[in-house]
Symmetry: D2
Subunit: 337 residues, 4 copies
């Protein structure tokens, strides 16, 4: 960490700062120039808050050199983390295909879709039981009943299930869920993240609409610092000014994240774009730039889905996408190669 | 709501659509042009989801004409809502001044600040007991102990207290809190909002970093539809590309929100800018464009605050700002005048 | 175009509006509902300005149904436009590879790079003679001399050259340039665009940092409406809040643009990310989602480039990227298939 | 400037870097830590390009400490610049009121408006002769004829005139124009800026939609480094995700700009919001936070303006706004007080 000091500080302030930092066992390198004084801190600065350091009267600005995350940091864990749910794998060269409806609606709907996506090669079934909706008047999901239907579909197809949690208090309902999803709106629900740090299940953590890559990694760190190192990251679009897509899919985040962390990172082209006909090209692009998997909405009857039908594929279209993705994978980007 | 249909739909699809909508008791106006067919829906469309309607195969795009919020809508409640906590008021011409430290640190710190801001005219004391922090390694607040200290400061000064809730399970600790704050990161924590709809206390709802004004109003609607109509909205900056401020304060949101809703809306210049020396000009600007109040961070010792000291004022500086704000208020914008 | 009228308009205003529109030969469909009146306009509305229509006192809001561009519109020109410069092609299934240094520095530098990228399969040589730089104190390019060096490199290698124009007055210098580039900062320099509409050369038009896809197509329309239909579009990143990349590459723009227009669209991964090690993954992703080509910065000595070295590849690295891109192309997205 | 070096550099690289910098007469302070080496440069670094320095193989990242602008920098010119056109002043405590129609349409229109805004206290008449329009099919302004009409209105009212230039080649037409405006889309049209550096007239430079404050100041520096120090800056909204306003007015830019530079900065609430009823509150807010003036669109017949009528005030409404702004000015923010 580098501190640039204000131009006209008092010597007393400077001594206080130096003593305080030395007491914290940092080694200091001070450069006094004509117009500015710079203090370099050598040591473990993850306990120092950048904002707090900048708030010191004598400090003009702060530059962090190392990353503030440890457990998620590839520097300290160079090997890829592989998430393995009864043999269904994501990461470390395993491309995970997660598919299913936006909302769980009925047993028939869910089982039909589950069988179809399994035939197309999906390794995980997704489906929303608890639905975060902008409007209180919109369908909020089947909730407990939805999870029961997911478990029934799992029993019938053998596919592990992925579904979203919206509140800590619902955790007991997720006992038999295989992968717990944290939605974009909850990426910085820190109390929830802490609680999920004590769960022995993979967590699928979606990037918030206005969250930086570093913030995503810090949210993963919340879970990992609690003891749960099974985190799957997910890029699902950020909010920009472009109106043609619901969000702007930030695919450059994929290779960046893979350089910074050993955790797997997948892409959600359905929510990122909100447009069904963009799912195929964006799935191919995600695979091409090194993503570890895809989570795609599939619905047997898109026009009548209770939510987000606009971004859903039919099982036929999904089969086509899955086939094309498998074909492109051997030619995709591999980090370090 | 207006539906623009796809160009080459089948007559059968069209009949299905029309019948479905008529069954829902909408009156329909259909215009068939050379290149496009347009269907106007007359009736209460708040139960219709725009995304769902757009997902219909026959529909090209949808335009909502009315607002999807009801309880928060000024059309149906033209008079300003006034929040009144034992005589401390916000809204309807009452300018509310909320002030206090970012984090509650100690009884001495809190009481010192509380007395000072009360002398400067603040009507409410704010202070963070539960602190949402990007890093799990950063100070997370005194939590339960912090709320006890806030209540002690209230007992000593008589100022009603405002503090942030981070999870439903903490609600019992907020029994004696006067105003419960929902932070920007939780603006779309819908389960929390629903729960707060059953609480008989004012809720201070902050706008999310990437949330539109309509989304903010829909989150207020979540609380209000549960029965709690005492909602105070708060603009605290949105995320943009400009690096000089932590966020970009969107002051045009103030007059827009006041046109759309009867709820009071206040401004948080401290978090919006993240820079102490911008608090005065932005406070004056907020007052000038019609805000119903200000929530400002004040710390007796900014350089040593455990968080966000960079954006805190000293009590002296706050006194100066409060005085200047009171002076400008008579010349500020009044909607409808 | 659909007009939603204000709620309490006067009958006289309504008559004026109707008469004015009928005089302009629009067919009108009026739906009067309880709360709102809607007017549908049938006819060629490209002469109507959305802003102007919304400015009418009686009008609440306007929804355009058709696209405001004609020459660029795929509806009216379903077949892909192919840009052909002496056999080097872009579009219609021809993947164009443009490569070269950010700035032209010397004949030796340029010819060395030109030969190397040609060997790697590039079909066009790029190089900056006029350089738009944020600072007036930074290197502004070799200007006239730079174009001469580009022409020398063309003479030696046979590669057609692509270089950026910054002002109309420089146009005579571009007489022997093969493809004229309009930079992101000039995407809405309308006087320049109009002038390029009268030039008989392909124009490479880069998307502005804060420009929507529709605005990019309207800028192409400026050129095309002057008679020059040889426009190549280029996605090169938009400005967002994410600091890890210089801009955020919006790859979903590629399939969207290809649906809307018959013009070819290429991707600039060098400027979009500003990071050399992201060029390979983003090139593969761009190819995968259907781009018609890539423009990539290559420098024989990246650390000493006079500008933007950070985003340049060495010729060796470019050769590797070009090879991988060719390998992935057969598996990439093809619109309509 | 601080350079953070890559972790595993070679000693030879390090020597090369040090020698190169010493040859450029920088004084160096090197701190070698366990994990990183930091080089502090003391000297005039405005000739060094941050991007170029980051492109060096040995360099991991760069932090600039000083500002890259000189002529515009308040550090070197502490006193406010005052723009004075025949006694009409902007800056240094003089609040400039610029008003007039978006487009010049006719002599009658212009003179009517000019007289009215003069009566309301405006010191400058604005009006567009050359109009940058997104669509080539939209009204492009009266051009040469428009400037003649502006000069006629000046002759009649005595108001100095402000109008936008779109291309260097039009400069001869601006000989009698008092203040030349550079629009947001041309803020980084560097060839135009350089040319305006040789003109002896005040330049009104508008911030680009996606331009940072530093980029705005660097564009001012382009003009000033050519010799023309009469630059007026203008905040007119930046592009964000919020759809209720055309752009998001960034008012915190006002006090920031005033701290960084001695140049006057005004606000354009008409274009920033695109909504007439937001002009009053945003004008009051702009005045409150220390702006040096306002540029406001006024039209005698807003519903029939040829462009942007939606954001125009009637002369009556402008008179009201002007009166309220004058009333609030004594209570507004003054930097350094």
């Amino acid at each position: 960490m580098i501190l640039v000091l204000n131009e006209n500080y008092e010597e007393k302030q400077f001594e206080n700062l130096v003593n305080w930092l030395k007491n914290k066992n940092f080694e200091l390198h001070v450069s006094k120039g004509q117009n500015s004084t710079i203090v370099g801190l050598i040591g473990d600065t993850s306990s120092l808050d950048t904002d707090m350091m900048e708030s010191l009267d004598i400090v003009k600005s702060v530059k962090r050199i190392g990353e503030p995350y440890k457990s998620a940091n590839r520097k300290f864990h160079p090997l890829d983390t592989v998430i393995d749910v009864d043999g269904a794998k994501i990461g470390g060269g395993n491309f995970g295909m997660i598919a299913g409806p936006c909302s769980v609606e009925s047993e028939e709907q869910l089982c039909t879709i589950a069988k179809r996506v399994k035939e197309s090669g999906a390794g995980f079934l997704r489906g929303g039981a608890f639905k975060p909706r902008t409007s209180p008047y919109a369908f909020q999901g089947l909730r407990k009943k939805g999870i029961e239907l997911l478990l029934a579909a799992k029993a019938e197809t053998g596919l592990p299930i992925v579904t979203e949690i919206m509140d800590i208090s619902h955790l007991p309902l997720f006992e038999d869920v295989d992968v717990i999803q944290v939605g974009a709106r909850n990426m910085q629900n820190f109390e929830l993240l802490k609680e999920l740090g004590h769960v022995d299940k993979p967590i699928l953590l979606k990037r918030g609409l206005a969250s930086t890559i570093d913030e995503l990694l810090m949210s993963a760190e919340y879970i990992m610092s609690g003891g749960n190192e099974k985190v799957i990251l997910c890029e699902r679009g950020i909010r920009t000014f472009e109106p043609k897509t619901r969000n702007t899919l930030d695919l450059s985040a994929i290779p960046i994240i893979k350089q910074l962390t050993h955790l797997p990172v997948i892409v959600d082209p359905s929510h990122a774009t909100g447009v069904a006909k963009l799912v195929e090209p964006m799935s191919l692009a995600a695979a091409a730039c090194g993503a570890d998997g895809l989570i795609i909405e599939v619905h047997n009857d898109p026009p009548h889905a209770l939510c987000d039908g606009q971004q859903s594929l039919t099982p036929e279209a999904y089969d086509d996408v899955a086939r094309k993705v498998r074909a492109i994978l051997p030619y995709s980007y591999k980090i370090g190669k």
